[in-house]
Symmetry: C2
Subunit: 287 residues, 2 copies
């Protein structure tokens, strides 16, 4: 903790007996000011609670999940903190940053960019796996040894790669409608070519399907992946491609629970419908 | 049902096993096109289900409650339909309609305006108590004899007056942070003088505290009012004034449950925290 580290409280709301708070801070890894949200369940008043990281999808901020998923009810019951980072650096004024919904602002893809001009700021992987966890552990009553991770769409894939790249770090990982194989879909190709350049061999370290192929044989490296997918998801065939993750997990004998839910789409209503089951799943590993 | 009555589906999302649908229709009472939202729980596939009307607050549309309150989970468990009207006529191009957040668009106050130019369109009371219920009963698998009503802030007051003005109509009524005595607060004075003119005797038929005074002695007229109020609500003292409702109910021996919740504010996080208890309360009367 540096002497100058400051957390500025942006808002505070009591929810289900706990507190949802949003803070602004200076991010060193992203070189800009960032806002994140943390929900501390009532149990946090008695002592450290385990953490569930939530990574949101394209166009979102730290707010969408906290407002729309209804997760606080079950989190308060179980005694789990929820933490939502934003989805990209903000206000860094790179050319074209705000031109499209699926690249730049709101679309950081949880990678470390290597291509200019993005490389200086777009390091969301470092931010969500290192800088922000360290900050949260310093400032809040959380148990630094008990973390799980989940997310939606771009953030569902983010959760998968964070877990796959850090065997043993997260107690459990789940994903709602993840972009399962970004190297093979328009959203991922646009993001990876923009942030990482044209060398597709560099992309492989940021793609869940490739990371499953590269995973070692330790128990930690073979961590179960829990994926929820709506069958009426408007992005299912072109962008999400869970069948590719399913195939590579089968081929590699990597544990995967892939649930396909008839009638559900890509919206927060889908997440709201199954978030309790995911929280219960994570609780089994966290509590 | 007129031969020309049309419902245009705006969106449909599966949520907790049921369906949330939004429809556009031509409103005769408001003389404009309106959108409303209805959540039909899974039980509606087997037969008619009871209805809970939800009236939202200032600046809201039919969407806020459905996206942020997390009510569908419990509604699906109980088998209750949720119906959210919009909060005012839309697109009627009256001068000044969009100038402020607390009058005109998004601020219909659930009254029938008598003052020009508002009187032609701003008849939200007729819309939410007559036109829309009749339409919903014609088109959806709901039990027309089993209705309850609730709402938030401006809509919490709306729910109270709909029930008080129609003894026996609603099986139960509840309100979150209602504007309890609009004749005696800035929001209400602005709305009532704008929609109803300067004669305060006319206002009394639209004010919950006044309606409690006017209520008859029948059991139906003495229906219990269930009010939830956050103690950290930023509008509590200047606008909401639940103590006035409490005083008049005590004076009139009108049944009131007023719960004050420490730490909670005026946001949807407050509603999300207690909506399950309100749905359970209404279910006791509806099921």
């Amino acid at each position: 903790m540096t002497a100058t580290e400051q957390l500025e409280l942006v808002s505070a709301n009591k929810v289900h007996g706990g507190w949802l708070k949003r803070y602004r801070h200076r991010s060193g890894s992203l070189d800009c000011d960032m806002v994140f949200a943390i929900y501390l369940p009532p149990q946090a008043e008695q002592g450290p609670v385990p953490m569930l990281w939530w990574l949101s999808g394209l166009t979102c901020t730290d707010e969408n999940f906290m407002q729309k998923a209804g997760a606080q009810r079950k989190a308060a019951e179980l005694g789990i903190a929820l933490i939502c980072p934003d989805t990209s650096p903000r206000g860094v004024d790179l050319p074209g940053e705000d031109d499209s919904y699926d690249f730049g602002s709101g679309a950081g893809f949880y990678v470390n960019a290597t291509r200019e001009p993005w490389a200086r700021h777009y390091r969301m992987y470092d931010y969500v796996t290192e800088e922000l966890p360290a900050l949260v552990k310093r400032h809040f009553p959380v148990d630094g040894e008990r973390e799980s991770i989940s997310g939606h769409s771009m953030g569902g894939h983010g959760a998968l790669i964070c877990a796959l790249k850090n065997p043993g770090r997260y107690r459990s990982v789940s994903a709602f409608a993840p972009i399962a194989n970004p190297m093979a879909c328009p959203w991922g190709e646009k993001a990876f070519s923009g942030y990482l350049g044209d060398d597709r061999t560099q992309w492989a370290q940021w793609d869940a399907c490739e990371l499953v192929k590269q995973a070692g044989n330790s128990g930690a490296a073979r961590q179960e992946l829990f994926v929820e997918q709506g069958e009426n998801d408007q992005f299912l065939e072109e962008q999400l491609k869970p069948e590719r993750l399913e195939a590579v997990c089968a081929e590699q004998d990597h544990p995967l629970i892939l649930r396909r839910q008839p009638g559900y789409d890509h919206s927060y209503f889908f997440m709201a419908s199954f978030i309790d089951e995911h929280l219960t799943y994570h609780a089994k590993h966290l509590l």
